[in-house]
Symmetry: C2
């Protein structure tokens, strides 16, 4: 399918792609591009055949997977054309897509782009957590736009399918708006909630919290780094989602005593929650 | 300790108090006050010795435990004085306290009140879920105010301790403000989040959600009923907490691109989350 695959950013997702490729395409050559200690680990784990710290390593690749944080991916798209010598497809695994698709418009003609976002993760990141089955039965969204070559989409679609994932195409803007609600707003709301509750109650107050607050705030342990990239590259959609939530909260506040708005919101939330729990796993959607 | 205990509202908490009393004080007479089918279940389970549908059943009680929804408890405090014949202590188990403490001010002198709130619950309510060990090692907050008889506080404190709970006294207003942040705001925020996300993405969008949204919204299955009582009787504190959260969200929104506010909030939230997880269970606090 591809014979020389350069993976830029060899963390959980990049490393897992490498391990899955190893199993499925043992003859493919994998080039790891990351800081040298990470490249060394990749080589020791047998997850790569070579590598280095710079995009010069992409010269001979026919597939380049950008798996660094989103804004690093976007910055690399501006220079990648100078390094890639032959016809190649570039894809990425970032969790926002519009800004990346925009950045890819400036690639030279022989380097063609198909945006991607595997809906897979793990509690801990980094190459040490990488595993070959990370994408099995998980949805992998591809975000072609009007200029994207449909044969390239088919090739990337086949590639992610061979890693065990279930490909699905979506417009980049629709992807970003959907993720603003399904992923980015929940994360930001939970972090804000945890910060406000902690600040207002202090450590002594927090000690009285029950399982409700604990469960609700699981995501509050997420590190800021990745989320700064997500927020910066999806600010419009996230901003609109924050406005929807604050409006809903203020409507509830205005009617706490009568409680009719609370009744309506809780009833609807209960129905959506039931639907969320009964939904087929993402992988079963086609 | 008490020889005739009337429990008004024989659901999860009321029923569990009865079962715990049975174990600890086998000779105490328990009177169940609820709708007749519930009283019948209580009698069949051996959780009560008698009972009925009206407060007239409290006539001979020396302890009356109000375990109905908060506003029903508050309404009953207005009539209870007409039914109780001898000196008695009344306590309640509601999750807001200021309004109940206020309502109790009108009791006649022979019926004395000590507000309470056991920090215990279960996924399902109702007498069928009741169990005698529900309060074991759980915090049980008592909220005396300036006119509360300190001997009564000591008796109720000893009573809840004998049910396995860990009593702790707190000012009613301080209790309500603390619970607004630890319990009421998280519940309302989660219900609002689930409603907004469902409304904006629809069922097809929700099907793509990952474990983050699922975990975050566990509380979204909570029924409106109880929460309408909580919201109506703690509207000021909850309203202030909602304002704190919406302000935090709007500050985040204003800086999504630069991300410095996001960095600050996520860093602080991470520290509070760590504290929340490492905190001694509530029961160990004294």
């Amino acid at each position: 399918m591809f014979s020389r695959i350069a993976i830029v950013g060899f963390g959980l997702v990049g490393g897992s792609i490498a391990l899955a490729v190893r199993e499925e395409f043992p003859s493919a050559r994998i080039i790891a591009i990351d800081r040298q200690p990470v490249v060394d680990i990749a080589l020791r784990r047998g997850a790569a055949d070579g590598g280095g710290e710079t995009l010069a390593q992409t010269a001979e690749a026919d597939l380049i997977v950008l798996a660094a944080p989103v804004r690093q991916n976007n910055a690399m798209l501006a220079e990648l054309g100078r390094h890639v010598l032959h016809a190649a497809i570039v894809t990425d695994v970032g969790s926002t897509k519009t800004a990346t698709v925009d950045a890819a418009r400036h690639l030279p003609a022989h380097v063609r782009f198909v945006g991607g976002h595997p809906l897979a993760g793990a509690a801990t990141g980094g190459i040490d957590a990488a595993r070959g089955d990370l994408f099995r039965t998980r949805l992998w969204i591809l975000t072609p736009e009007e200029h994207t070559n449909s044969q390239d989409v088919a090739r990337i679609s086949g590639f992610v399918e061979s890693l065990g994932a279930v490909p699905r195409t979506m417009d980049p803007q629709a992807h970003d708006r959907l993720m603003a609600y399904l992923s980015h707003l929940p994360q930001i709301a939970v972090s804000a909630l945890m910060q406000v509750v902690g600040e207002q109650t202090g450590g002594e107050g927090l000690a009285l919290a029950g399982s409700g607050l604990r469960d609700t705030t699981r995501l509050a342990a997420s590190p800021a780094g990745t989320w700064r990239d997500v927020a910066a590259t999806n600010a419009d959609a996230i901003g609109a989602a924050i406005d929807e939530l604050t409006s809903a909260l203020q409507r509830l506040k205005a009617d706490l005593t009568a409680g009719e708005e609370l009744q309506r919101v809780f009833d609807e939330a209960g129905r959506w929650k039931q639907l969320l729990e009964s939904a087929q796993p993402a992988s079963r959607i086609d």
